[in-house]
Assembly symmetry: C2
Homo-oligomer: 373 residues x 2
């Protein structure tokens, strides 16, 4: 006897900032027999995943594929490939993930220009425009579309326009927005975007879909210096994920790709538009119910991310104890605050397969029960 | 109708260089309901995975955990954290993965000293000792324990001793050796090792177990410069995977961790020693059968990796056509040669759950069938 047992998780209702509830079809796909990463069957699957990702990103970018690692590695794929030492990068920070972008620029030897915005507020296009005018040698503008730490949606379309006028590339974090909020990579002209599988795609965590415009790809191909990461260097990764003959770069997480494919098929079956509408619909029902219970939305209505509801708790509640009670008594996970918002707000997710009437009603009822005393 | 269908792979017998056949229990574990990456249940699982990894690595290193990305990212975790710009690193190259180590050193600004060995031969300890004597300012010695591209096992114990005498740290690729060949991290004194899940652990691909000695960790903590990768920076990752309170760094690939846990439980149930013995046993039966069919071992007997059999094909065979026939007619995957060995050798894997009598007999019979003409 080894003393070690198989792990049998108690299942939860996932209404935090991700992972979200994974659809049974996705879990089933995940457990299909593993095949080789160079198997012709798998190569066909790879092509279909790329097509399906183009649908959800609303892009025709050839360079659209899933990075074999979580969202943070997707972020790093964008920065490590596009930022060369000395490149001036304007980062807009209105939450945790903007700060992470700054870290990326610093570590890659880029020249960071940081623009801070109040947490809970969107990125202000006017200030970005002014700053770009002051820093005419800026190469890249980076911002977060849907800031997961605060529940704020910024105007990616307007910010991208400003970047185009200033002739700078954009790197945009779409981890939480993909398939939950409107996101039009081509129409808006975003140059490099990265996302995650565990949010509105309701797939298992661990994979990061990315998409690069031709302009962004040209910058990668014209680099003077080597990309610091061998694993994330697009010049190499494309030998495997690009068009044409697929040659070995790394061993792809085969089963996670089955799951991602199934999750994407589910979005396309529902329809991307309908999927985004559904997030809006249940968001407003949930938020009304939360307000009735005494919660206060952190974000002004026009900037709220439907799939991630940031709320201040009613006066006098012990947020940690209440979160724990929801988890222990109702198997319901909601998200705590991050950084300066730790202990102050909750982030209640309604992402992908978690976004339905059953969860909204369950969450509000469970909360009501716990708040009875 | 979207036109996209669920992906239903035809299952294969995996006898290439990995992935190997995944145990049904591991596939089943993989598909259990996803829970949050900060869920107390998941945190317990993380602790148990760390314990189990210490068993298979034969180490007491506290810093032993699975990187949330494939083996190449495990390699990069070791190099990016341990190599500072200007550090002299001696890389021993006797195959593809040694070359990849060189790439890592170059990209990180290390001063590369490369020592080439014949592909198909092990790293020669004497030459390493001489080279270290010539380069007394060397900080790190890096080599591949089991070179997956050639099927050669090098003497990690002896190489580590030489490194210790020269007061340099070791980075050792144990991707193919872990749980298939003897590997004693503490007894041999290896400082930083990385592996993969899809070889002798017979888990799904996509995760890279690593282990760092205290000396290696001290070097990481004493760095003058920031680690170039935010995602792989151990100073940050340890906030999540270290001891004590687990705080968010990235979203762990939750379901892949269920699978890894189950795969490790299976190794411990069998017994690590028995598991390694099993690889030796079926290796010798397979190799005898291959020789009988006219295949010629690439590697001298004392340096062969039991779990990865590198063989030259009998004269006059079209290797690509034969591999394709094995795949199409028998659903049997064997590995092609890499680099200078492309088109010249095969790599027939007997890894983890793929290493059993049934597969050995099936492979030899299928080969016999295909070679009849």
């Amino acid at each position: 006897m080894s003393g070690y047992q198989s792990f049998q998780p108690r299942s939860r209702v996932l209404m935090g900032p991700g992972p979200s509830d994974v659809h049974p079809r996705v879990l089933e796909a995940l457990s299909r027999p593993t095949i080789g990463h160079l198997d012709p069957q798998f190569q066909e699957l790879m092509s279909e995943i790329k097509e399906l990702l183009r649908v959800v990103f609303q892009t025709r970018n050839e360079l659209t594929f899933p990075v074999s690692a979580p969202g943070s590695a997707g972020m790093e794929t964008c920065f490590a490939n596009l930022v060369e030492p000395g490149d001036k990068v304007l980062v807009c920070t209105n939450g945790v993930f903007g700060k992470r972008m700054q870290e990326n620029v610093n570590r890659l030897g880029g020249e960071l220009v940081n623009l801070d915005f109040e947490w809970g507020e969107p990125v202000c296009p006017k200030r970005v425009e002014e700053t770009l005018a002051q820093h005419q040698d800026t190469k890249i503008l980076a911002f977060v579309h849907a800031e997961t730490s605060t529940g704020v949606l910024s105007n990616a379309s307007e910010l991208a326009k400003i970047a185009q006028n200033a002739n700078v590339l954009t790197i945009v974090d779409t981890v939480t927005s993909l398939a939950g909020s409107e996101l039009k990579v081509d129409e808006w002209g975003l140059d490099a975007v990265y996302s995650g599988t565990q949010k509105c795609l309701s797939c298992v965590p661990g994979i990061s879909p990315v998409s690069f415009s031709q302009k962004a790809l040209d910058k990668v191909k014209g680099r003077q210096s080597l990309v610091s990461s061998w694993f994330l260097d697009l010049n190499l990764v494309l030998g495997y994920w690009g068009e044409g003959k697929r040659s070995y770069h790394h061993t792809a997480p085969v089963n996670s790709m089955y799951a991602l494919h199934e999750a994407l098929v589910l979005v396309v079956e529902e329809g991307l538009k309908q999927c985004i509408e559904r997030h809006k619909k249940w968001h407003s029902v949930l938020m009304d119910g939360l307000v009735e219970l005494g919660f206060e939305p952190l974000v002004a209505p026009e900037y709220r991310i439907p799939q991630l509801n940031a709320v201040k708790l009613p006066e006098g509640l012990d947020e940690a104890a209440l979160r724990q009670e929801l988890l222990n008594r109702f198997d319901l996970e909601v998200g705590a605050g991050l950084g300066p918002f730790a202990g102050k707000i909750w982030r209640i997710g309604l992402m992908g397969n978690s976004c339905n009437e059953r969860n909204v009603v369950y969450c509000l009822s469970a909360l009501k029960e716990c708040m009875k005393r």
